[in-house]
């Protein structure tokens, strides 16, 4: 006897059926990985320590089902090693397979009873009588005929030990799995017999044709051209090639020829499905345009009609409900497909893919009620579909409906992938009237005002932003947000943040240098230079650090851009928010006034044209500090200064008086004098950063990064580039309120340049400056091992630090204690926040759903709740 082959899909639920002693476990071990096999004996042992403890059967199966469910949900082939001879035992397994759209496979080990008995007798742990096997075999015999009805799609029976030994299993991909096809593709919407427009579209997409070798003589095609793309692009038809339009059979045959030639893929539409039923001779009502296709068929010469019918029917039957392409990144299905159905196979998957998310209910026009599955779609894969004609193709949550109603006088649309460009040709005329006006199929009813995505983005789901979160970023594989952190972020965002649609970026925290070795100093630039040198950075940009408040500016060229790009209206031209996402100004007039100054500067310098954009996101520092921190200044900084000054000068006076009359208090007097001087320096330090703001002219904005504009970010540019562009477009011409940032590029190998940079810092901080920020020359810089290095280190002035560490921090004993600070935690945080902030903008410029952008800024805020020494 030759070897028996059984082909099963890579994703299947394999149910072994056989009595005790039939050799199921050995069979499973031979053909499957240990982790793929769920054995009832093993589960019995797990819950009771005994494999054959029948008391434990119920608990054991509960465990088995839980594991099975998790595996099927995750898309893993699973084998059930249990007797499975009773229908009820199999029913729950088939139900589970259906729930997760996994193909149920039955492999029956129907071995002679004496073989089973002999094997059992040889096993010491089986102490039940032979009658058990007899009963099990009786149940098995009864079961054999019912398996198909029970829902098993592949059934294979093995009847002897020899058959078992010679048996082989081959796994094949699920039919819909075409992940190794990576395109590029041109996905074409519902054609509905508009073959003329289809040809025009193919030409527009760069396809060319040759005459078919077989042509009409072969009696199986009405169409004689074979189209293909010279660069190997492939067309993907979303189905509904036929019905309603004038050239249905030719359209269908055009696609058929391309599929046969390998220049196209095709998924079936509901119209093909109905045509197939007609071709099979089933009773179908000839309506919704099928009557036209059938008429075309009837018009074929009688001698070719039969062959043609068979060929077409064969083609339609060969079509798989949907295709998963490009490593799983692209899914094409006629009516779309929910994420959990991608690459799965079941009646439900097919029905969803062909007919959409319906439950059989009809609306007042007799059309099936379709739920808007795409509105809830959160999958990673792009889903392209058709089925419901819409006025224009619009992205929503990484899905797009490209049925733009050609047959109803609209357009035939193709989506170029991966370019994601839409190419359309207009219908030559109206071939049919839709039952429901196409405009009513548009989402949300206000397409003209707000895109479908912006409309859907009005709602963010709490479940996406609570509990433990894992956020994938381009810079770091994944960043974990724990439950407490997300709870904290939820509160901050809900209570204080600007509208989430504005919140496209949050800046990272910044680490200081390691503690300086300089006597009396906590920070100085030497450590920053050493750090970057150590991490393989050869060149840095030193930027003056302004002491104000971090401000993110999001600004649009006009209100149309606000609506089109941010999905907001009547909110002015943009917003300015703080590093925690809070509106910088309570006073809207002041905010819009400052924004219009930025706008003027950008417009005057030709920024919008040069950057080909109508919006921009800038990272800036806004001065004076007192604009945002006034209440903090009054309630804390000034208060401490006032009390310190009063107390220490009173003490000095009293001590001086005592000293004059010869009491020995000189050391104390001197010390008190020093302390008074430190408090005076402290007051001087914060005063530098405060001035009254009565007018916009009193506000200064110092931008330092151009984060993003339409369609792109600027993270691959150097920090020098950022400084230069900002000087050119914003601060160079001395626009009102625009404040330049002094900077210098330092080659770290050049000792002279390093010395000069340190001297520069000394001079700036001596004048009361906050200090400087040292950044690697490249915005994103990697060390020798390819890891991203700290994007910036701050180095703060000795006097400035009094505001942070307290007026008297320079007292030697205190300073000694402070020097023990560690910056590791802060740096890890800065790095993760940097990755998240950049990711937010990358997603935003890719026009991803707001949920995906919000996830990242939410993550930054969540990380901010980590307990890190706030003085760093």
């Amino acid at each position: 006897m030759g070897n028996q082959h059984l082909e099963i899909p890579e994703l299947a639920l394999v149910v072994l059926i056989g009595s005790s002693g039939a050799g199921k476990s050995t069979f499973a071990a031979t053909h499957f990985k240990a982790t793929e096999v769920l054995s009832s004996d093993r589960c019995r042992a797990l819950v009771s320590d005994e494999e054959s403890n029948l008391d434990a059967t119920d608990d054991a199966f509960e465990v088995l089902h839980v594991i099975l469910e998790k595996r099927l949900k995750r898309g893993l082939l699973t084998v059930i090693d249990a007797t499975n001879v009773k229908p009820f035992a199999r029913r729950s397994l088939v139900t589970m397979a259906r729930k997760y759209h996994v193909l149920p496979v039955a492999i029956v080990l129907d071995l002679p009873e004496k073989v089973c008995r002999a094997r059992n007798a040889a096993r010491r742990d089986r102490n039940f009588g032979d009658h058990v096997i007899t009963h099990q075999r009786r149940d098995l015999k009864r079961s054999l005929k019912r398996l198909g009805k029970e829902g098993f799609r592949i059934i294979h029976t093995l009847r002897s030990p020899e058959e078992v030994d010679a048996f082989e299993i081959e796994r094949r991909p699920v039919w819909s799995d075409r992940r190794d096809e990576r395109g590029p593709f041109d996905i074409i919407g519902d054609v509905h017999g508009c073959c003329t427009e289809l040809e025009e579209l193919l030409e527009r997409l760069g396809y060319t044709w040759v005459a078919s070798a077989e042509g009409r003589e072969a009696h199986d095609s009405t169409y004689s051209k074979v189209w293909s793309h010279p660069e190997g692009r492939r067309a993907v038809f979303v189905g509904d090639l036929i019905d309603r339009g004038p050239r249905s059979l030719e359209a269908l045959d055009l696609a058929r020829q391309m599929v046969a030639a390998g220049s196209a893929l095709c998924v079936p539409g509901n119209h093909e499905d109905k045509f197939r039923k007609y071709l099979m001779g089933r009773k179908v009502t000839l309506r919704h345009g099928l009557e036209k296709t059938v008429a075309e068929l009837e018009a074929l010469p009688e001698n070719v009609r039969g062959d043609y019918r068979d060929a077409v029917r064969g083609f339609i039957e060969s079509l798989v409900s949907h295709v998963v392409l490009d490593d799983g990144n692209l899914v094409v299905a006629h009516a779309g497909l929910k994420e959990e159905m991608h690459g799965r196979a079941s009646g439900k998957v097919r029905s969803f893919a062909l007919y959409g998310d319906t439950d059989g209910a009809l609306d007042e026009l007799g059309l099936p009620v379709r739920r808007d599955w795409a509105a809830d779609y959160k999958g990673e894969a792009t889903v392209v579909y058709g089925h419901t004609p819409v006025p224009q193709a619009q992205w929503l949550n990484r899905t797009i409906n490209i049925d733009t109603g050609c047959v109803f006088g609209g357009e035939l649309t193709a989506l170029r992938y991966p370019e994601r460009e839409l190419v359309s040709v207009a219908a030559q005329r109206v071939y049919a009237e839709p039952i429901r006006p196409i405009a009513e199929n548009a989402r949300a009813g206000d397409v003209a005002l707000l895109s479908a995505q912006h409309h859907a983005d009005q709602v963010l789901d709490l479940e996406d932003f609570s509990g433990r979160m894992r956020i994938e970023t381009a810079l770091q594989r994944s960043i974990t947000i724990d439950e407490g952190q997300s709870a904290a972020a939820l509160e901050v965002i809900s209570r204080f943040a600007v509208h989430p649609k504005w919140l496209v970026y949050l800046p990272p925290t910044m680490s200081p240098t390691e503690t300086s070795r300089r006597e009396g100093y906590l920070e100085s630039p030497e450590e920053a230079f050493a750090f970057y040198r150590k991490h393989g950075v050869e060149k840095v940009v030193c930027e003056e650090k302004h002491m104000g408040s971090r401000a993110i500016v999001v600004l649009c060229r006009d209100e149309d851009a606000v609506r089109e790009r941010f999905g907001l209206s009547d909110v002015g031209l943009g917003t300015i928010y703080t590093r925690t996402g809070r509106a910088f100004f309570q006073d809207v007039e002041r905010e819009q006034g400052l924004l219009s100054r930025v706008h003027n500067a950008l417009s005057a310098s030709g920024f919008w044209e040069d950057f080909e954009t109508d919006w921009v996101c800038l990272d800036t520092e806004l001065m004076p500090w007192s604009v945002k921190a006034q209440s903090l200044l009054e309630s804390q900084y000034a208060r401490v200064g006032a009390a310190g000054q009063a107390s220490l000068s009173a003490a000095e006076r009293a001590l001086a008086q005592a000293s004059e009359r010869g009491i020995h208090v000189d050391a104390l007097l001197a010390r008190t004098g020093e302390r008074a001087a430190m408090v005076a320096s402290y007051r001087e330090a914060y005063r530098q950063y405060c001035w009254p703001v009565e007018h916009l002219d009193d506000i200064r904005l110092a931008p330092f990064h151009i984060m993003a504009t339409e369609g792109r970010t600027y993270f691959e540019r150097s920090n020098l580039w950022h400084m230069e562009q900002i000087a050119t477009y914003l601060t160079g011409s001395g626009g009102a309120s625009m404040h330049p940032t002094r900077y210098r590029v330092v080659e770290l190998q050049d000792e002279e340049q390093v010395r000069e940079a340190i001297a520069w810092w000394d001079a700036m901080t001596a004048e009361g400056g906050e200090g400087m920020v040292i950044k690697p020359f490249d915005f994103i810089s990697r060390d020798g091992r390819g890891r991203v290095v700290q994007p910036a280190l701050k180095c703060r002035g000795r006097e400035y630090l009094r505001i942070i560490y307290g007026p008297e921090y320079t007292t030697p004993a205190y300073l000694e204690l402070l020097r023990k600070r560690g910056v590791g935690k802060k740096r890890s945080l800065a790095w993760r926040e940097f990755a998240l902030g950049l990711e937010a903008l990358e997603r935003f410029v890719r026009r991803e759903p707001l949920r995906r952008v919000h996830e990242c800024v939410f993550g930054v805020l969540a990380l901010e709740s980590e307990a890190v020494d706030p003085r760093l």
Partner: protein, 472 residues
């Protein structure tokens, strides 16, 4: 922090005997917070001044904080006025260096210890909330003449106004020990902050040092409350103080934590508001109720006694509030609440939350005014479109009524975090618009005593979903 005590009692240098500190020597003592120095800037027969200089050691201050607060680091702890102001540190120092004097003992001049002598105390920086009147309210009833001058916040910025600290001079004729006792208790009372954990022992201390003068003091409740800071202890202390006074301690009136943030006469109105909302919800016939923005759970506490309710869920965005609510509702072991009937969960009204759909009734008590107007629109969508309760009760302050409260500056809001406060017309315009858009009917009423022309302090709107209106 410098404190000086002067006397012109003749011979003035007897002050040295009273304080057990020699006028011709400077002495230093270690205390937990640093060092205390005692010296005499002047010491003549006519006039003698003793100075106590407390040098708070910032290193110890930070270390202490790290121990006590652990994770709760804020910059406030590093840029800190503690080394410079009269606070509980000063009281502790007084207790250490002038222990015998405080106890009224004096070996050399026993008669002087109990004798009223003229005394003058100068304090360089005394923190005091408000306009500083509390200093006089505390010391004048004890027989002091009080002179308090507010320190400017920063002479470089006159516009910033005054700081919360005062230079204070107290003059009185009384025994020294009495004066030290007053300072010991009242300096932390003025400051309102304790550097150490307030435990039961503090009640004894207060009673010991307050003996004889605290009981008849007209501000004794304020003193007890601010000295002890914690409500539970305050009750004990007040009870001990007024054995002869039958009035029960009014728990609610003692809450001064809210006074600084909220100017609303808090308790009675809050309670009436909760009653009004609860009865509207009871009347709706609801069995499943949502309290959106449940805060400390006051509404839930009222509703839980009605058997009518099968389930009520309190939602708040603040984890801390939920913990308070869990304590108030005694949901032990929260958040693993076993009791399915009363559930607290963190949630935000600005996100869609599928857990909150399909409730009969929902309450939004004093919530909407905490949202910036653009985000209020999101809340409307979430509540009216996605949660869609049959009945919705909304309350918010009536701005017109603010003119009735004298403590509220004109145009001011009742709470720091209020983003707006509406007139009745504004609120009803908002409510009518929503009712129209989402198919509800709405009725309005005031909560609290109405005042001619301005209405009641709180306004309430009860929304009923369209299809329910006919049934009622």
């Amino acid at each position: 922090m410098l404190l000086t005590i002067s006397t012109t009692h003749q011979p003035a240098t007897d002050l040295g005997y009273l304080l057990y500190k020699h006028p011709e020597r400077a002495q230093s003592f270690d205390v937990a917070s640093g060092k205390v120095h005692v010296f005499y800037p002047e010491a003549s027969e006519e006039r003698c001044t003793a100075a106590m200089l407390l040098e708070v050691d910032p290193v110890r201050l930070v270390r202490g904080n790290e121990g006590a607060h652990g994770e709760g680091w804020t910059l406030r702890q590093y840029v800190n006025d503690r080394p410079y102001v009269a606070s509980s540190f000063v009281s502790v120092a007084l207790g250490v260096v002038f222990r015998s004097a405080m106890a009224g003992q004096c070996k050399e001049r026993p008669e002087l210890a109990t004798k009223a002598i003229d005394l003058r105390v100068e304090l360089s920086a005394v923190p005091c909330p408000g306009d500083g009147a509390m200093i006089a309210r505390l010391f004048e009833p004890l027989g002091y003449q009080v002179e308090a001058t507010r320190l400017p916040l920063d002479p470089a910025f006159p516009a910033w106004g005054g700081s919360p600290c005062f230079a204070v001079t107290l003059t009185a004729t009384m025994p020294l020990s009495q004066m030290l006792g007053h300072l010991y208790v009242l300096l932390p009372v003025l400051d309102g902050e304790k550097h150490y954990w307030v435990g039961d022992a503090e009640v004894d201390k207060l009673l010991r040092y307050g003996q004889g003068w605290l009981e008849p003091h007209p501000e004794r409740e304020l003193i007890a409350r601010r000295y002890l800071k914690f409500r539970g202890l305050t009750k004990d202390a007040l009870k001990a103080l007024r054995e002869d006074d039958d009035a029960p301690a009014d728990d609610a009136r003692i809450d001064d934590a809210t006074v600084s943030e909220s100017t609303e006469p808090h308790v009675t109105l809050q309670s009436r508001r909760m009653d009004a909302v609860a009865s509207a919800i009871v009347a709706s016939g609801a069995t499943r109720v949502l309290d959106l923005g449940c805060g400390e759970g006051q509404l839930m506490e009222r509703l839980r006694d009605y058997a009518q309710f099968e389930k009520f869920v309190g939602v708040d965005v603040s984890y801390r509030e939920l913990e308070r609510a869990a304590r108030r509702l005694r949901l032990e072991g929260w958040p693993d609440v076993q009791d399915q009937r009363v559930v607290l969960m963190q949630g935000s009204l600005l996100y869609r939350d599928r857990r909150l759909a399909e409730f009969d009734a929902a309450a939004l008590v004093e919530v909407i005014e905490h949202l910036d107007p653009p985000r209020l629109a999101t809340l409307e969508e979430m509540v009216f479109r996605h949660m869609r309760p049959r009945t919705l009760v909304v309350t918010t302050p009536n701005r017109e009524y603010n003119s009735v409260w004298e403590s509220l500056p004109a145009g001011g809001r009742r709470h720091d975090d209020h983003r707006f406060e509406w007139t009745r017309e504004q609120f009803q315009g908002w409510g009518d618009g929503l009712a129209e858009r989402f198919g509800y009917e709405v009725r309005y009423r005031g909560i609290g005593d109405e005042v001619e022309g301005v209405g009641a302090p709180t306004q309430m709107g009860v929304f009923t979903r369209g299809e329910e209106v006919g049934r009622g």
